[in-house]
Amino acid sequence: MVKMEPATDLAPGYEIVIEPNRGWLRIAWREMWEYRDLLVLLVRRDFLSKYKQTLLGPAWFILQPLLTTVMFVIVFGRVAQIPTDGIPAPLFYLCGLLAWNYFAQNVTAGATTFTANTQLFGKVYFPRLIVPAATIVSNLFAFVLQLAPFVVVFGYYKLFTDAGAAISIDWRVLLVPLLLLQTSLFSLGVSLWMSASTAKYRDLVHLNQFIIQLWLFATPVIYPLSKIPARLEWLAWLNPMAAVVEAFRITLLGRGTLSFGCLVSSIVLTLAAALSGIVIFQKMERTAVDRV
């Protein structure tokens, strides 16, 4: 007979204790690790189902930021004439959208973790945190796909236009993974807060969508951070995404202004959001099926 393989990792003390859990800081890290294969397969599912269901397939990931950029160039560049720090407008918007879209897609999908998975969560147990974590990883693939049009547009401006002198790429590009990590953590925190609150109050779904729409304008995606008046600078300090988007421009285009204080505040707030998000999410997941 086939021997059961995981028998090896069942230490004699392997036991699951089920009791009303009143602790706040019991995070099931060990279980998360045991279910790592599920994370991989959920990422695969997201990707395959997105790819199979749409007519354009993965091309959609590329078209979406390109079309948005064209819109931004016309509306904010030509009509409203918002300056872009000397960076060619399409590159400026494309770069900002790259960072912003990753954040917004994570939050939009993550915020509905409980409401969209009622059926699944009501029938089987696994660490619920796997679901928003898988969303973030699968959106990373979308990010990489969206990097392609950016590289093409960057190459065009650098090689064939005079504006190419304004942009450069140097060692700082190596910091992009760190920025992605920060974006992941912050979007995880925000989406955990949002999903936990929508599990309790369903009508917050609409509010969450609205928050993300407004948040875009509170973040220097369509304007440079340098254009924020000094007396409003505290707003940028309170919005971790402001520093992240500006830092993306510095690392990918070599241009931008970011104060050290703003960066530190962004990192501190990111960690606070991620940790508190995980805590509140784990508190909610234990009885969420009784509510949703």
């Binding site: 069942l10 699951i16 109050y201």
Partner: protein
Amino acid sequence: MSLASNQPIVEVRGLSKLYHLGSIGSVSLRDAAERLVSRFRGKNGAPPPKPLQHRIPPDRAGSEPNSFWALKDISFDVRQGEVVGIIGGNGAGKSTLLKILSRITEPTEGRAVLRGRVASLLEVGTGFHPELTGRENIFLNGAILGMKRAEIARKFDEIVSFAEVEAFIDTPVKRYSSGMYVRLAFAVAAHLEPEILIIDEVLAVGDVAFQKKCLGKMQDVATREGRTVLFVTHNMQAVRHMCQRAILIENGRVGWLGDVVTAINRYAGNPEGHTSRIDLDRMARNNTGETARLKTLEFLDETGAPIHRVERTQELRGRIAFEVREPIRQFDLAMAVTHSGGERVFSETFTDQRRPQALGSGCYDLEFSFPVQHLKIESYFLTLWCWDGVDAVDFVADIPLPEVVDSHADSYKEARRWGVVRVPVRWTQPSATSEKIALTTP
């Protein structure tokens, strides 16, 4: 084994679960705000908000208004390798117990310790994605149920051939027939190899032949591989065949814990505490019972005296009391008898013999009777439908019929009979013949 022999693999102590009926289903922020406002006003002398009215049996009500003990003080142990059946009526708390042991929700009080890897199967095909192929879904579903990828890969061929879907394994499951879908889903589940397997009534799916195959596989898992199985079902035949012990859950409490036969008899006997009168009003329904409502059912013998068991030679009489709330133009009533194993035995309707009738609102009594000579000395259940000519306006299932008894029967012999009915067959005496019967082999 790694387990100390004196330690049960599943240990449940005082498990209770309180639900707040008002807050099942998430509240909207507006409701919460309104509640807050009215609480303020309440302090200033205005009347407090009127509480929602829920019908909660007094023995299950919590201390707060609208709270309900779905489970109260459940304790039991399961030893390694045991197959334990969990039985009980609708709403008794079986599902809640399963949800807690599967860690889908947490208990309000008490504690359970599970010493081993657990897989729970409350549904087949959990997390199946219609766009993905059979192959992709096997991996996804396996992982959701707690299998490692390597483990699934190793069992992949076995799963596919068990499900009999070899030819379609790279087709998206949305193109599968419902039979194929269920077979594939079950095949994944049947190949789980946890130390503790928790199963809900998933066996009620698929065609009979496949169900048998699944039951066989489950039995294998339990007996040959020494795994522990907790099995919730209405299928008494399955309980009888597979389980060594049974837990009867009644009104959120343990009604019986021990041998299977006693548990089944107690379950089938009379959940209302041995009265012959069954309160249909309180039984579970799905969105029926508004236009007309079945209220009570009383079983009587031929003389009209209430009974809770019936001799096989007699007729069983039942008196149904029902209330018509909105006039019914074409009243009809249907009854069906199912065997405790889940098989349908027969059904009959009021209009089989009488004309459909118009009934105005009000309360009515109606009697039916049938001979029980073809029933076995086993448990049967009754289902009642009330029709208005078009739709079923009320529907109550799983009403236990009085126990059929036969004072002359040999219980050992009776237990070995096949099937769900007994048809007395007439035999002749063997008579000697002169011819020799030649057995020819071609």
